[in-house]
């Protein structure tokens, strides 16, 4: 009975030493409650029974089953981290055991004490307990543990499991003298299972990544589209305000100018113009005003009636929208060219109002891509205007390049015939 009690105390102390080392080394919120205490006491009794009846294999099993439960109860943490601490604590315990064994062997050799008595069987356990307590108090041990953990952070948790089971297998084979071949067989099976798990994990991760990337791409496309639509909207809104302005009185013009300036700080030419002509002429002159000295331009307006009264308001708005875009592009292109020619003609052709803008240009033109959303001769995030002009069918829009002239034609069907 006394032997049993001594063994229990040794196990109790040994378990406490390991648990305390873990308690001190691990970070995070720790909790010690009745449940933890009961598990600790029951575990110690169980371990002492195994030790008393000399069942070392079951002892090793109990370490890798009982301690994970105890550790988790003391300090709940992710499995990956728990495995890491199990391994680390096991290594510290192994080293402590080694030191004790070497120490006791030296004492035996020097003083010839009887080391096979129960007292000497328990002594190493108590010594290991003392060493573990000392280790748990040493700051450098904690620092070393944290450093090792930081190194192993990038390692997949599957590899932790591999290390864990390898250690487990080695201990089993050492303690029970299991046939090495059998151990290797078990190890191969375990590793195969783990590789399969790893493959499944990788496949799942790839699948998850694919879904994530597709979602990301869809979101990205959506934001790009929204950004493009927003820029088209902004341009068209300013164009529509200009459209209203072209048929408004002075007070309305002042209000619209104020609003346009808020949308686009670059557009503030009207303040310099004393009187803006009515209708399309007003829009053309406002656009050209800044560049009077930069361009070799000519405007032919062969329509002497009020265009606005021959188009539906919607069509007039779209006509102005397209004209503004064409003027923006053609002015920029003409200024960049050697000849700097810009000719605007507004004609009445039977039932249609036709605006033709011809300009010289300097850039290389990709004929097949012109008018596509992503294409512009003027750089990134450009080219939306022509795309927008082609998209809206309310007013016809076409482009021709004739002998180094860029010819944009806007044709709007009249509401009623001109007398």
């Amino acid at each position: 009975m006394i032997d049993m009690l001594i063994t229990f105390i040794a196990c109790f102390a040994s378990t406490f030493g390991i648990a305390y080392l873990y308690y001190k080394l691990s970070d995070g919120k720790k909790k010690i409650n009745l449940k933890t205490f009961i598990v600790y006491v029951l575990g110690s009794i169980f371990m002492s029974l195994l030790m008393y009846y000399e069942i070392p294999i079951v002892g090793a099993v109990s370490y890798f089953v009982y301690f994970p439960i105890l550790f988790y109860l003391v300090n709940p943490m992710p499995i990956k981290k728990l495995i890491f601490y199990l391994c680390v604590v096991w290594i510290y315990g192994f080293l402590a055991d080694l030191i004790c064994m070497v120490g006791l062997s030296l004492i035996y050799n020097c003083f010839h004490f009887e080391v096979y008595s129960l007292m000497f069987t328990v002594t190493p356990t108590i010594l290991v307990f003392v060493i573990l307590i000392i280790l748990s108090k040493l700051k450098w041990v904690r620092k070393l543990t944290n450093f090792i953990y930081s190194l192993t952070k990038k390692i997949d948790y599957v590899f932790y499991i591999i290390i864990f089971f390898t250690l487990f297998g080695l201990i089993l084979s050492l303690l029970a003298s299991i046939n090495v071949k059998n151990f290797l067989l078990v190890l191969v099976i375990v590793l195969t299972i783990l590789v399969l798990i790893l493959l499944m994990k990788i496949t799942f991760s790839e699948f998850e990544n694919d879904i994530f990337l597709n979602t990301l791409k869809a979101n990205n496309d959506f934001y790009i589209k929204m950004d493009e639509e927003n820029r088209i909207f902004k341009h068209n809104l300013v164009a529509r305000l200009m459209s209203i302005k072209s048929v408004s009185n002075k007070k309305s013009i002042a209000l619209i100018d104020d609003l346009i300036f808020k949308f686009n700080k670059n557009v503030d030419t009207s303040n310099s113009l004393k009187e803006i002509p009515y209708g399309l002429n007003g829009i053309i002159y406002e656009k050209l005003y800044e560049h009077l000295n930069d361009l070799n331009f000519k405007v032919f307006n062969n329509i002497d009636y009020d265009i606005f009264s021959y188009l539906t308001p919607k069509r007039y708005n779209v006509l102005v929208e397209k004209l503004m875009l064409v003027l923006d592009n053609s002015i920029e292109s003409a200024i960049g060219s050697l000849e700097k020619v810009l000719v605007i003609s507004i004609n009445d052709v039977e039932n249609f109002i036709e605006i033709e803008v011809k300009n010289t240009f300097a850039n290389e033109i990709d004929i097949d891509n012109l008018g596509n959303k992503s294409y512009s001769t003027k750089g990134n995030k450009r080219g939306l205007g022509l795309f927008s002009n082609f998209r809206n069918k309310e007013v016809a829009f076409s482009i021709k390049i004739i002998n180094n002239y860029f010819v944009s034609k806007i044709v709007a069907k009249k509401n009623k015939n001109v007398d």
Binding site: S345, D366, I367, D368, I402
Partner: protein, 232 residues
């Protein structure tokens, strides 16, 4: 036979132009209009004949000679246009290039001499105004053959680049084999990836593998392999 279309509101001036034409061209047909009429529109729309339009700019009504030139150029880039004007040459350079006008002649400034010289040149040139036309989704490209200098394949973009007068540079999704039937006899292949307008070549150097154009540009795309086609 060359067809002349005279549009002038002055009968006297028209008669004078007829006389001058008689002096320069023997085989001809001449029609005259005083303003834009349905008949003149019909004449313009008929592009089967090569014509020389002689247009007075100031026609005394709202449709000027420039408007008529615009109507002509909407459908016909092969006929020649000569403008006659009383005024000074305001925006002459602009109109000359945008409507491919052969000449502007002032009525009271050496008119007869200059008119006859122009007509003589037009007859000599034999209406070399054929165009290369390429239609893409949104755009139509029209360039006079005479203005195209050379065409080469951009190996990076895998497209053909057409180099024309006036720094014109156009990229089209065609290959050398596709574009050759779209051109006329003046264009020959001079390199594996290049076609040249041989009427624009000034110098050929097969040894160093380049040709020089009348614009002064030196192009290093000349191969002995195509020598027979080029030297024909």
């Amino acid at each position: 036979m060359v067809k002349f279309v005279v549009v002038d509101d002055s009968r006297e001036d028209t008669r004078h132009i007829f006389d001058l034409l008689d002096e320069v061209v023997s085989d001809k047909k001449v029609v005259a209009f005083q303003k834009l009429t349905p008949e003149l529109k019909k004449e313009i729309m008929n592009v089967s004949e090569h014509k020389v339009y002689i247009l007075d700019i100031e026609l005394g009504n709202k449709v000027s000679g420039i408007n008529i030139a615009k109507l002509i150029r909407d459908v016909d880039w092969e006929s020649e246009i000569i403008f006659i004007t009383n005024h000074e040459r305001m925006f002459e350079s602009v109109h000359r290039s945008i409507y491919e006008v052969f000449d502007f002649i002032e009525k009271f400034h050496d008119f007869d001499k200059r008119f006859k010289k122009d007509i003589g040149e037009i007859i000599k040139r034999n209406f070399d105004n054929k165009m290369f036309v390429y239609k893409a989704n949104n755009v139509e490209l029209n360039v006079y053959y005479k203005n195209i200098l050379y065409i080469f394949r951009d190996t990076e973009d895998r497209k053909l680049i057409i180099i024309a007068d006036g720094n014109g540079k156009y990229s089209v999704a065609l290959n050398i084999k596709d574009i050759l039937p779209m051109l006329d006899g003046r264009f020959v292949q001079c390199y594996r990836s290049c076609i040249v307008n041989k009427t624009r070549i000034q110098e050929k150097n097969y040894k160093e593998g380049y040709f020089t154009l009348d614009t002064g540009e030196k192009v290093y795309m000349l191969s002995k392999k195509f020598r027979s086609d080029l030297d024909d």
